[in-house]
């Protein structure tokens, strides 16, 4: 069970207290694609960082399998990121001097899964680009390496922060299709943060944020399938 209970996050900027998140509560289902939508400054990325164990909330509880992640120390948070979370960011964040295969393997190794690195790259359609360095790949390819890297850890939660933010429409749809398939075929909870409302129809659950608060939560019993042509 993954559950957020009254999560709040405040920043002190000079003399002013800025509210990034206020009383956020909703459950996250495994094997489903959750899309968090909202305009800039709505708190999407902050929420994702808290879910990813990269940031701590100021108040509230983030329960993962009954454990309160908000009370984890640094070592526990690292273990949590290592074993539970797969992270995909808008800027790919690949290690430039490692090949695609090595970028995936270095993460897979953390879960003693590195012999399958090649398999994960094949899954995202990059079997022919194993030995290429990030600088030798396109944005879409780099993002697919990033997804393969996240998946190679067999995460229970795949967090994607604007994964298509730097990509063209066709490549974006290709990435979304991969994420939809991951949610469908594994028991991974896939959470995608985006400001693109057109992705709403692909998610099982759509959470709308505005000014750090949950504006609406919508269930999508039959999400749209992304066409075969984008593969």
């Amino acid at each position: 069970m993954i559950k957020l209970e009254k999560i709040s996050k405040f920043y002190q900027v000079g003399d002013e207290q800025v509210t990034a998140l206020q009383d956020i509560s909703f459950p996250i289902e495994k094997g489903k694609l959750t899309i968090i939508l909202g305009p800039s400054g709505s708190g999407k990325s902050t929420l994702l960082n808290i879910l990813g164990g990269m940031d701590q909330s100021t108040a509230g509880k983030f329960l993962f399998e009954g454990e309160n992640v908000t009370q984890f120390d640094d070592h526990q948070l690292t273990d949590y990121r290592r074993k539970v979370v797969g992270f995909v960011s808008q800027f790919y964040n690949l290690v430039p001097s490692l090949t695609a295969l090595e970028n995936v393997a270095i993460a897979a190794r953390l879960t003693a899964n590195d012999h399958r690195a090649e398999e994960y790259l094949a899954k995202v359609g990059l079997k022919q680009r194993l030995n290429n360095f990030p600088s030798q790949m396109s944005g879409g390819e780099m993002q697919r390496v990033s997804i393969a890297r996240a998946l190679s850890k067999k995460p229970e939660m795949l967090l994607c922060d604007e994964p298509t933010g730097a990509l063209d429409t066709k490549t974006s749809l290709r990435i979304m299709k991969i994420l939809q398939e991951v949610a469908k075929t594994s028991k991974t909870a896939v959470i995608v943060v985006t400001h693109n409302p057109s992705f709403e129809r692909y998610g099982d659950c759509i959470v709308r944020l505005r000014d750090g608060r949950v504006e609406s939560i919508k269930r999508n019993p039959v999400p749209s399938e992304i066409g075969e042509d984008v593969k």
Binding site: M54, R81, R82, K83, P96, L98, F133, R149
Partner: protein, 749 residues
Amino acid sequence: MKYLNLKLIRDVRKNWTQFFSVFLMAFLSVLLFVGLQGAWKGLDVSLHHYSRQSRLSNYWIRAVNIQKADLNKLKAIPGVTSVSSGIKIQTQSGKKQITIEGVNTKRPSFTLVKGNNFSQTNGIWIDKEYAIANNIKIGDQLPLKFNHVKVKYPVKGIIQSASKIFFTGSQDYIAPNHSKYGYAYLPEVYLKKSFPNIISTNFVTLSGHHANMRQRIEQIFGKRLMMYDNRSTLTEVATAFDRVTEIKNLSYLFSFIFILLAILAMFTTIRRLIADQTSEIAVLKALGFSNQLIGLHYGSFGLLVGGLGSLTGAIFSPVVSLFVLSTQKTMFSLPKWQLAYTYTSLWVLILVIAICVLSAYFAAYSAMRGLPADFLRGDSEKEVHHIFLERFPGIFGRFSYGARWIIRDAFFNKIRILMGIVGVAGGMMLMIAGIGMPQSINHLVDKTYTQDYDYAKRLTVNDYASFKNKYPQQKGQWLQVSQAHFSKDDGYNRYLTILGKGHEVKLKTVDGKEIKSGGIYLTHGFAEKAHIKKGEKLRIKTFGGNDNHYFKVKGIIDGQVSQGAYLTAKTWKKAKGEYQPTTLLIDKNTAYPRKDVVSIVSIGSQQANANNFVNNLMGIFALIIGFAVVLIVVVLYNLGSLGFVERYRDYATLRVLGIHKKELKQLTFVENVITTFIGWLVGIPAGIWFLGQYVATFTTIKIEYVPYINWITITFASTFVWICSLSTTIFLNNRIKKIDMVQALKGVE
């Protein structure tokens, strides 16, 4: 520009720790160079001023029975401007020794410090240092004894002589000992009156120049010539001028490496600072600022900090200069010590500022050159490809992914890695030289007085024949030391030492053999300077003798102090040389007739005196080691820090993936160890070479300084550099702890 200047000041304030390290490097570079220059140039100017003011002679001659005809011949030598003669004797004053010069001129070449001007009255003018050390005042009666005749002179004045700036009073000592040895002047007529029928004119000083003065003097005096010196060989004068050259060479050699490393530190710091500002540069470009203006703005970072550091260094440099000069005041007797600087100091100051400005400019240059959008997007990834090592998968495949990352990163950031290696190697060079130099000098003293010579006392007698007749059973080793003209030579007269039977002189050849009969032995420094090799035949004419003697060079001696030649009395006598030794070396169990001995010098006092000479330089060495330590710490920390900044995003990514801080620390540690190891390996031979160059700058005509390296120097330098280098990992560990994953994973902005 107003707002850019505002940004400049705020940026400097915000990043003051990084700017401070640039400031510190600029400050130390200028402080060291200008500080040392102020000292050596100051000493140089003071010496020249004193020489001119006191009409310091150019040549000094000692001979037997100098006649008026000799003086006329000397005056007739082209280029000679003045000739002075007098009587010089070594007297005893209680247990102390005073060198007395009886002069017949109205204007003697010494400077009056206190008392009456020199006049042809019965009185004595005593040297200032001796007077201070022995609390002698004007009007005191100074007792003197020469050849069993005792006299007393009233002290009329306290003086300083330019021909005795570095006065030791005896060949037995290498450093002044003002409490025991002094000099004094008095009118020649009164000296003759005090010691009638004993002495005659025995020294002459000449002013002016002549290309072949040595030959002319030898022709005029022939067998009567006992000693000939010019400003380069007269210890009392040459040592002071040599010291100028020593500090000057030391300043240039050390500053060269120091400034080079400081440049490295400044460049890396500024590069690191500007690297953090690439997005700001892109924003400025996007706003429409021209490249020139942006270049000017970032160049002004270097100008402000480098300029402030350099100027502060220049302002405080007199403190270093005064400190260095203060260490020399115990050795040299000068009426006035002043600081002086040349334009080189100004050029070094400009160079340091220029380097700061250019470092800042070129660090910003790559961002200025590109499109603003690229830098705002963060698309400035370096082009990476497979490296040569990957062609051997058997080897490369064995490395962990972390190791592969480090190896590839090193290949694609060669300059950064090279700077790291140069930083460590440079640190080793400075430390080996810094520690090795005082060790080398200490070793020279120890070797001379414990290995090369093994005696307890060094006795001087007046007449060998009568002493030998009176005490035929006297034990010990006799030495006859006289100046000699060697052909070929290096243009200077050297001391020829003739060794009687005995075991007190233990000098060995460079191949470890003892001095034996059958040939002459030259010290290494003399042989090198005169280009004389083993097996060559030399012609030797000793002063005090008229004949030429020919000897084959049988060996090169590994001796540093008193560069000259040695041979056994047997070889000398066989070549029909006159053997009249006056020095007797005895061990601690040998008795001797005190009343028939002119002077007694213990080896302990000689060693203490030599150590005093060495300690005189220790302040400068300590200063240099201190500077080197600060430099090494800053350079190595900066280089480590630069590597961290450049890979901050990579570190953050690995943290996001779930790599523990400990694992990341291990990775940076391994990388640091590899860089330090390579730098250390390169630094050892480079340091030994540098020490050789450094030590060689101290070599004079009389003393050959050689580098002495032992495991203590290497261990100490290595330990320090390794600790400094590895401790940067601790600093980096703190920064790893503070990695902000959220910020790092955002775009470059």
